[in-house]
Symmetry: C2
Subunit: 350 residues, 2 copies
């Protein structure tokens, strides 16, 4: 499929989000959990992962904030938190299965609990899951980790159901899938808004602002701009940004900023007024900004429609800049740099 | 007291951090907690606050990550999380006592639990605390909220002790206080490193990188640059930044960035090598950067010595830029804008 006459494997991967969601739903239904505390009705869920493998947990934490009886805590560290216990469900996520941080973190987690689930496509994490007979959600292999977000989110939603915490929101998922298919049709015929946003960003430093429950949808856009388009981009959640970051607009501006604000037609007045003030402030400084409104009815569709749209913008931007969105050479370079300095035995033998 | 011939009330406030810590320690020892679940041995602590009133909770969450049996979760929202229950201790923090987000959040929290402690100097929060007989840590009034971090941290550490979760780290606190006094003497005689960092930042866009347990010490620096010096500054935690943000250095740079990396002489090799790679990458792109090493022996002294140093840098930068570090007009402007649009009755009558 083409958008705006552009062709690229990364565009194809971004466009198949609805099918990814569908396939993951049926594939992951069968994974079952042991009948023991930690797996059943846990008091907290800790998702351990980094980057593209953490984003599902972050978005789930937004999704669950006002719905669940247990907090979802995402740790992106080398060490597991000390508060793990037999009533905590640990979800270790590493697309490659070889992320050093996640493996070290898992190693320290195993000293505190054995209620662990894994999400991975391969590597040491897969081996560890087999060795300890941990329930595993197998990701499709051979893709950039960041494109496996639909699978990770569906796996995490199934984990909530299997643990007894929250029924799989099947109606929300169906709405999300059909909305994405509609949107795709729409964008193929009318790619202009996507191209316009990409072009505004192309000569600027994008600052993403987003509020709950879309905080990490905003963070996803920042990381997609980093990884697909190879540009800097920064993200700050609202209303927190009003209590510090907003002061930056008083001083001498060091870049041609382009704020992108993620909004919802149904947002509360107290959010609307705060954004009104921010927009007035930006206009008074001659700063142009963009607003992206969520689409859909229920939360999952609103989240995924926005992720879908902004993922596409990041890929289109890469292609317009003449940048290959697929490889992440600087990250790969870091991995090979580390491989000459750290012995994998230190963290892989769990 | 003067540093580098500069005089300003904000400099005085920043320089009295050791006395603030000392006074708070004795003042807050007496606050007692009810003998009931939630207050005693809670399964989680939720700190609700925004900006300068949230930073203590964030830094405490770093401090506690590998030490406590309960997670410390900071929420900076209008709504309390749904997972509050009778075993959760809620700490509502608002310096002014009139922060709309915190008051709304507290209102929704009261439907789920009554195990609540407050930290405030005044306002509706103080009134609510009296009405519900909630234990209260009274902050010194008439100061910018961000300068009350020492008091907030000491109050939070006392809260851990009173709840039975963690003994007040008196030896660590003593070390921190005497180290800050030494450092102050040293900076008065040798302000050059502070001035040098301020001057490097003055013509650039600072990007703060920090890793656990100094993640939020880094975030504090970003917000102090925003509020004191009125400039933009961005913060990303490591190692997460290696999995996305680092890709930004591949593309066309949109600003004269100056990365500031917070480091520890005792850091693990796996962190050291990652920073080595980042520094090589920056050098290859001709980017100058700064490193700030923590000082002291135990964690609390390392945290506070770095906060003390970087707070001073932010104030010195403001004064060198000819900016008054004290007022935060854009934030005050937002408050008066909101006051014409939102009826305080909506959130203040708890």
């Amino acid at each position: 499929m083409q958008i705006a006459g552009l062709e690229h494997e990364m565009l194809d991967l971004a466009l198949r989000m609805p099918e990814d969601l569908e396939e993951a739903y049926s594939k992951y239904a069968a994974v079952s959990f042991p009948e023991k505390s930690g797996y059943q009705n846990p008091s907290k869920i800790v998702v351990m992962g980094l980057g593209g493998s953490a984003i599902g947990g972050l978005i789930l934490s937004d999704y669950a904030y006002d719905r669940l009886s247990a907090p979802i805590i995402v740790t992106r560290e080398f060490l597991a938190p000390n508060f793990l216990d037999d009533h905590t469900l640990v979800v270790a996520v590493s697309y490659s299965g070889n992320t050093e941080e996640t493996l070290r973190s898992l190693k320290s987690a195993l000293k505190l609990t054995d209620s662990i689930v894994t999400i991975t496509s391969d590597g040491f994490l897969e081996k560890t899951a087999k060795k300890y007979s941990l329930p595993t959600y197998v990701l499709p292999s051979g893709r950039p980790p960041r494109t496996a977000l639909p699978q990770m989110m569906i796996a995490l939603l199934w984990i909530l159901e299997k643990s007894g915490l929250y029924k799989f929101p099947i109606e929300e998922a169906k709405e999300a899938i059909s909305l994405l298919k509609e949107l795709r049709k729409h964008y193929v015929a009318n790619p202009e808004p996507l191209i316009e946003l990409a072009s505004k960003i192309s000569e600027s430093l994008p600052l993403v602002y987003s509020y709950w429950p879309y905080r990490y949808v905003g963070y996803r856009f920042k990381t997609q701009l980093n990884e697909n388009a190879k540009i800097h981009a920064f993200w700050t959640p609202l209303p927190e940004a009003n209590h510090n970051e907003i002061m930056g607009w008083e001083g001498k501006l060091q870049a041609n900023y382009h704020p992108v604000i993620i909004r919802d037609e149904q947002e509360e007045d107290y959010l609307k007024y705060r954004i009104e003030y921010l927009k007035n402030l930006l206009r008074s400084r001659g700063i142009s900004y963009s607003e992206i409104f969520t689409k859909g009815r229920a939360r999952l569709a609103k989240m995924f429609s926005t992720i879908f749209t902004l993922d596409l913008v990041s890929v289109i931007l890469a292609l317009k800049l003449g940048v290959d969105p697929l490889p992440v050479s600087t990250i790969s370079g870091l991995k090979s740099y580390l491989s000459t300095r750290i012995d994998p035995k230190e963290y892989s033998e769990i």
